[in-house]
C-alpha cells in the first residue's frame, strides 16, 4: 500500500519537515503498520524547469534540428538544440538543464550538438516518466507543450507533484481498513499523538428527479452481498481530472485515466472502498441484479478478455446479462466511454472469500478484488459513494441525481467486548491503567459504555479481549513491555533417548567420512521403475499429492533410494570424483486413516575409486555395532532388484533385519546415467534404536595371556565364510574368544569348486594360563564341527 505523505497531511498535520521518512517508518512499523520502503520522489527529477521558447531557428548544420532560445525565468535565456518538430515560438516546454536528472536515473549534461552548444534538453512526457493519460493534449513523439498553469522558471518536479515522499506499507491481511488514506491516517495520528481530521462529504445533488425513479437494485444472493449502495450522475462530462487529483493518483502508484474513473480510484484510495462506475444507458431496463452467474454465462471484461463464468461467481447483472464480475472487474458492455452521459456509482460490500476465489479462478487479481477479499467494512459504502458524488460536483464532471439506493439485506452487527484491564495486563506482563487503555482505544475509534467496548465497524478483526490487548500493546509500545522471566523454569529440557540415538548415528557416519544431505520427501512415481521396484511391491502404493507442483514431486516417497541416487547422480554429473553421503530421512507409508507412518531410514550412498562392497560393509558394521554394541550377521540378498544380485546383503541383529546394502544394480545406475559403481545402504533407524546399546557393564580385563592358533580348511567354494566363522564360534568351547578370517584362496593346489579359508583362533582361560592341550582340544573340536557340518577339511 503506497501512501503519499503530502496527501496524508490532509488528515494528520505531520509534514515530512516535522518527521522525516526514517523516523516515520520506524514509528509506524513498531506501532503495527510495517513500512517496506520510503521514497523521496523529488530525487527522481532534478533541475527540470518550465521554459518559454523565445525564438527558434534551423540548426545551420542539420536538416532536422532546431536551435531554441529558452527563457527559464531567471538570468539569460538558455540555448537548446532539439530534433523535435512540434516546438513553436511562445510554447511552454519542460526544459532539462545542464546537470539535471530525469526519472530512471538519466542525467542530462550541456554539450554541443553538431557544433552548436546546447545547455540541456527539451522533454517529452515520456522522458518525464508520465503517460498520455497525464497529458491527454500532448503528442506522444514530440516535446510536451504545456497547457494551463505553468510559468517560465517553475520547477517541473513540483508541478508534477514530485515534491512528495511515498511510503510503502506492508499491511497484514487482518487490517483491510489500513488499505486507504483514512485508515493509515488514523494509525499515524495515534502513533504520533496527533489529531485525526476527517471530512464529512456533502452532496448538493442539484439534478432533477430521483434515483429511485430510474434505477432499481435487487440483491438475489444476499449471502455474497450484505450491502449494495448506489448513486446516479447525469449529464456527465468525461474529461481529464485536475492536476492535484492526477498527482495523488500517480503518487499512490496508479494511473490517471479520466475524471469518472479517477474519482472511483481516488475514493478507493481515500476510503478503502472499491467503487465501480457503470454507463447506465447500457444497463438493460435500468435494473441491477446482484446474483451468481448462470451456467454458461460469458462476459468480456474491461481488459478485453472473454470470461467464462461459473455458477459460484457473483455478478452484477441487468435483467438479462452480467455487466460486471462483482468486486473484480467491470464488463466492456457498460464501460465508461467518451460519450457516457449517465453513470451509476456502485459502492457495495461483497463476501471476501467468494471474491478471492472468483478472482483466482479468472486469473485477474485487481486492486478492487484484493481489497474485497480481505472483508471490507459494510458501514463504509454510503460514505464512499457520497464522497464520489461530492467529487463529481467539485470537478464539475456531471450532475448528481438526488437520492441514494442502499440495499442492506444483512444489517451490520456491532461487536461489543468487555474491557478487563487486569486480564490485559496479565497477558502482557504490564501495569497499564484502565484510563490509559481507554485513551488508546478511544483514539482508534472504539467507544465505551462503562466497561463495555464498542468495536468500530472497520475493525472486524477485533473480536476477543486478546485483540484489545494487542491494540493497547501496540500503542503502549511492544518495546516498552518489560522483559523479565516470569517464574522459575519448572521443566527439564533435553534430548530423548531416541533423539540421542539419532544424533549418535550422525556422529558415527560423519566420523567415517560421510557428508550429510537433505533431500525432498516427494518424488516422481516413475522413480519406482527407475530403481526396478517390482510392479507388485506394496511400496508402490504411495500417498499421492492431488495438486502437486509437477510430476517429479507428486508422491510421498516410500523408499529413500531414489532420493539418494538422484544426489549421487548429480554429484557424478558435477564431475565430483567421489561422494560419500548420508541422510536420516523419513519415508511415508500410507495408513488406513489417510495419514502416514513416517519411519526414519538411515540412507547411505557412495561412489569413487576407493569404494567397494567391503568399504560400505565396514561402514555399516561400524554404525550397527556403534549403536547396538551387539553381534550382527550378514546374509546375501539376491532378490532386491535395485541391487547387484551378487553384491547385496541384509544385516541382522538378534534375528531382526536392520537393513540392506550393497552395490546398486548396474541397470539402475545406467537408468540414472551413471557409468560407475554406486553403493547404497538403507537401514531402519527405528530398528537400530530398538537395539541400541544399554548402559554398558564393565568386564574385568584378562589376567592371563591368550594363545592363538591358525587353521586353514578346504571346503566347497559356495559356502559363505560367515557360516564357517559362526560354526567355529559355536563349537569352540569355553576358551575360544575370537575367530578372524585372514585368507581365502582358490587356485593352485586347490581343486576346482573348492576354496581354502584360513582362520586365526584366539583362546584364553579366565582362571589360568592356557596349556597346549587346552588349545589343541579347542582346535580339534572346531575342525570336527567344520568337517561334520560343511565337509571342510584341514588343508
Amino acid at each position: 500500500m503506497k501512501c503519499s505523505r503530502k496527501w496524508l497531511t490532509e488528515f494528520v498535520d505531520l509534514p515530512v519537515s516535522e518527521v522525516g521518512d526514517r523516523a516515520f517508518a520506524e514509528a509506524m512499523s513498531v506501532s503495527g503498520s510495517k513500512v517496506e520502503s520510503t521514497e523521496d520522489l523529488s530525487l527522481t527529477m532534478k533541475n527540470v524547469k518550465v521554459g518559454k521558447v523565445l525564438s527558434i531557428e534551423r540548426h545551420p548544420d542539420s536538416d532536422h534540428m532546431w536551435v531554441c532560445q529558452i527563457d527559464i525565468g531567471e538570468g539569460n535565456p538558455v540555448q537548446i538544440c532539439t530534433g523535435a518538430q512540434n516546438v513553436r515560438e511562445g510554447d511552454l516546454v519542460p526544459t532539462a538543464l545542464d546537470g539535471s536528472l530525469l526519472p530512471g536515473g538519466i542525467e542530462i549534461k550541456a554539450k554541443p550538438l553538431r557544433g552548436i552548444p546546447s545547455d540541456g534538453m527539451l522533454c517529452s512526457f515520456k522522458e518525464l516518466g508520465m503517460t498520455q493519460h497525464d497529458f491527454p493534449y500532448a503528442i506522444e513523439d514530440g516535446i510536451l507543450i504545456l497547457q494551463g498553469d505553468y510559468a517560465p522558471g517553475d520547477d517541473m518536479a513540483v508541478k508534477l507533484g514530485l515534491d512528495d515522499h511515498v511510503v510503502d506499507f506492508e499491511i497484514t491481511p487482518n487490517r483491510p481498513d489500513c488499505l486507504c488514506m483514512i485508515g493509515l491516517a488514523r494509525e499515524t495520528a495515534v502513533t504520533f499523538g496527533k489529531k485525526l481530521e476527517l471530512h464529512e462529504p456533502v452532496v448538493a445533488a442539484k439534478a432533477g428527479g430521483s434515483i429511485a425513479d430510474v434505477a432499481k437494485i435487487v440483491i438475489e444472493d444476499a449471502d455474497l452481498c450484505p450491502r449494495y449502495t448506489a448513486r446516479m450522475v447525469k449529464n456527465v462530462k468525461i474529461a481529464p481530472s485536475p492536476e492535484w487529483m492526477k498527482e495523488r493518483i500517480r503518487n499512490a502508484g496508479m494511473r490517471p485515466i479520466n475524471n469518472i474513473v479517477d474519482i472511483t480510484n481516488y475514493v478507493m484510495m481515500e476510503y478503502g472502498q472499491p467503487m465501480h462506475a457503470f454507463d447506465f444507458s447500457c444497463v438493460g431496463d435500468g435494473e441491477i441484479h446482484v446474483r451468481r452467474a448462470k451456467a454458461g454465462e460469458v462476459i468480456r471484461t474491461l481488459d478485453g478478455t472473454e470470461r467464462n463464468l461459473t455458477t459460484d461467481m457473483l455478478c452484477i447483472c441487468d435483467t438479462e446479462k452480467p455487466v460486471a464480475v462483482a468486486g473484480v472487474m467491470g464488463g466492456e458492455n457498460s464501460e465508461i466511454v467518451g460519450d457516457t452521459a449517465m453513470v451509476l456509482f456502485e459502492s457495495a460490500c461483497f463476501n471476501g472469500p467468494s471474491i478471492r476465489r472468483t478472482a483466482t479462478a479468472l486469473g485477474m487479481r485487481t486492486d478492487a478484488s484484493s481489497r474485497f477479499e480481505k472483508g471490507l467494512d459494510m458501514q463504509n459504502t454510503l460514505k464512499a459513494v457520497e464522497r464520489a458524488c461530492e467529487l463529481i460536483e467539485l470537478l464539475g464532471a456531471g450532475e448528481v441525481v438526488p437520492g441514494v439506493i442502499d440495499v442492506v439485506p444483512e444489517p451490520f452487527e456491532e461487536t461489543t467486548l468487555k474491557l478487563e484491564p487486569e486480564k490485559i495486563n496479565e497477558l502482557l506482563g504490564t501495569e497499564i491503567d484502565a484510563d490509559a487503555m481507554k485513551k488508546i482505544l478511544g483514539d482508534l475509534g472504539f467507544t465505551f459504555e462503562g466497561d463495555v467496548v464498542h468495536v468500530p465497524s472497520w475493525r472486524a478483526d477485533v473480536v476477543h479481549y486478546s485483540d484489545l490487548a494487542e491494540e493497547v500493546a501496540r500503542f503502549y509500545g511492544y518495546n516498552e513491555i518489560p522483559t523479565r522471566f516470569t517464574g522459575a523454569i519448572s521443566t527439564c529440557g533435553g534430548y530423548t533417548p531416541l533423539q540421542q540415538c539419532e544424533r549418535q548415528v550422525g556422529e558415527i557416519l560423519r566420523s567415517v567420512g560421510l557428508d550429510e544431505i537433505i533431500t525432498y520427501s516427494f518424488i516422481s512415481p516413475s522413480y519406482y521403475d527407475k530403481i526396478r521396484m517390482p510392479s507388485d511391491s506394496p511400496l508402490r502404493d504411495s500417498l499421492k499429492i492431488l495438486n502437486p507442483l509437477g510430476e517429479d514431486t507428486s508422491i510421498m516417497r516410500t523408499t529413500v533410494l531414489p532420493s539418494m541416487l538422484e544426489i549421487l547422480t548429480r554429484n557424478y554429473n558435477f564431475r565430483n570424483k567421489a561422494a560419500a553421503l548420508y541422510e536420516i530421512g523419513r519415508i511415508y507409508l500410507k495408513r488406513e486413516d489417510g495419514l502416514s507412518d513416517e519411519p526414519k531410514i538411515v540412507s547411505i550412498g557412495m561412489y569413487g575409486s576407493d569404494v567397494d562392497f567391503f568399504r560400505l560393509k565396514g561402514i555399516v558394521e561400524t554404525l550397527v555395532s556403534g549403536i547396538t554394541g551387539k553381534q550382527m550377521r550378514f546374509e546375501a540378498e539376491k532378490k532386491n532388484a535395485s541391487y547387484h544380485p551378487g553384491r547385496c546383503a541384509r544385516v541382522y541383529v538378534q534375528g531382526k533385519v536392520v537393513g540392506v546394502f550393497g552395490q546398486i544394480h548396474p541397470e539402475v545406475a545406467s537408468e540414472y546415467g551413471v557409468d560407475t559403481e554406486l553403493y547404497c545402504a538403507e537401514l531402519s533407524f527405528d530398528t537400530l534404536f530398538a537395539l541400541h546399546r544399554e548402559l554398558p557393564v564393565y568386564t574385568p580385563l584378562p589376567k592371563f595371556p591368550s594363545v592363538s592358533r591358525d587353521i586353514a580348511v578346504v571346503c566347497a567354494s559356495d559356502i559363505p565364510v560367515g557360516d564357517l566363522s559362526a560354526c567355529i564360534m559355536e563349537n569352540g568351547g569355553p576358551f575360544l574368544r575370537e575367530c578372524t578370517v585372514f585368507d581365502v584362496y582358490t587356485g593352485h593346489h586347490i581343486a576346482e569348486g573348492l576354496k581354502s579359508v584360513a582362520f586365526s583362533l584366539s583362546m584364553r582361560a579366565d582362571d589360568r594360563t592356557m596349556t597346549d592341550d587346552d588349545a589343541e582340544s579347542t582346535v580339534k573340536s572346531v575342525l570336527f564341527a567344520l568337517k561334520e557340518r560343511y565337509n571342510a577339511v584341514i588343508r
Binding site: L428, T491, E516, I517, N547, N571, A580
Partner: protein
Amino acid sequence: MKEMMEKLREASIKAILESEDVDSLEALRVKYLGKKGELTGILRQMGRLSAEERPLMGQLANRLRADIEATIDARKQVLSTALMEKKLEAEAVDVTLPAAETHLGHKHPMYNVLDQIKDIFIGMGFEILDGSEVELSDYNFTKLNIEDSHPSREWTDTFYFTEDSRVCLRTQTSPMQVHAMETKPLPIRMIAPGRVYRKDEVDATHSPMFHQIEGMVIDKGVTMSDLKATLNLVVEKIYGEGTVTRFRPHHFPFTEPSAELDIRCHKCGGKGCPTCKGEGWIEVLGCGMIHPKVLAGCGIDPDVYSGWAFGMGLERLAMGEYKISDLRLIFENDERFLEQF
C-alpha cells in the same frame, strides 16, 4: 717391556680412532685385548721380570687395558651416534607431501544451525518434539484459529491428499503446538523443528519443502514480558551478545497479540544497506501470545494457563549465517558445497 706397552698403546689408540664401524672396533678389541691378543702376548713375558718389576708392569698393563677399553667405548659411542644420524637422514620424508587420506564427514550446514538452536533451548528447559508431516487440515489450520476461507488453505497454496482437503502436507510446524497441548502434561516448554511444505516453485529464495522451528511455552502466569525476555536471550545466543532487537506488531491467527522480532542489521548497524533492504532491521521470527481460543480448543483453561509461541524459518537463518546466496544450494547436496561446513 715398558716400551712394548707404550708402543702398543700408541698403535692401538690410533687404530681405534681410525676405525669406521662397530664391527672393526670389535675386531680391534679382540686384537688388542682378547685372550690371544697383543696385550696378553706382552703379559706372557712377565715371567721374565724380577719380583720388583712385576707389580709395576702389572699396574701399567692394567692401566693400558683400561685405557684401550675406554677408547673403544668412546669410539663406539661416536660411531653409533653417527650411524643413527645417517639412518635418520636416510629415513627423512618430505613433510610437504600430501597426507594419507582420513576424511571426516560434515553435518549439513542447516542442521549445524538447527543443532545450535536446539542446544540453546535445551539449556533453557525445553524439550524437542517431532511430528508427522502428513497432517490433518484440522491440526494445520482449524485448531490454530485459521478460518475455513483463509487463503492459505487454497489448493494453490497447500498440498492435499484428499479431495475434501482433510489431509494435507503441513504448511507450518505450528500444528505441533496443538499436538503438544493435546498430549503433554502442563507445563510445556518445547521446540518442534521439521519439514514443512508450500506450493512454491523452486527459485533462489523459494522451495516447496523447507524447514521451520516451532517453539511454545505454556505455564501459569506466562506473559508477553516472558516471551520477550526468552526470545531476546535466544537471539543474543544466535546472533551474538549485544544484538539489538525490536518487537513489531504483526498478525498470526493463532497468537494474539502477535509480533515479529527484528534484529538491527549487523552489516550496516541500522543505517540501511542492501542486506536489510534499506530498512536497518532484519526480520528474524514471528511470535505471540497463544490465542486463548486456541488454548481452550485444546482443552486448556485460558483463565488458568497462558502461553507464548514462536516460529522461525531455518533456511534463511542458515543462509544468513553462512552467507549462502541461493536456497537451491541447500537441497542440491553438491559435495563441494557440503565439504565447506
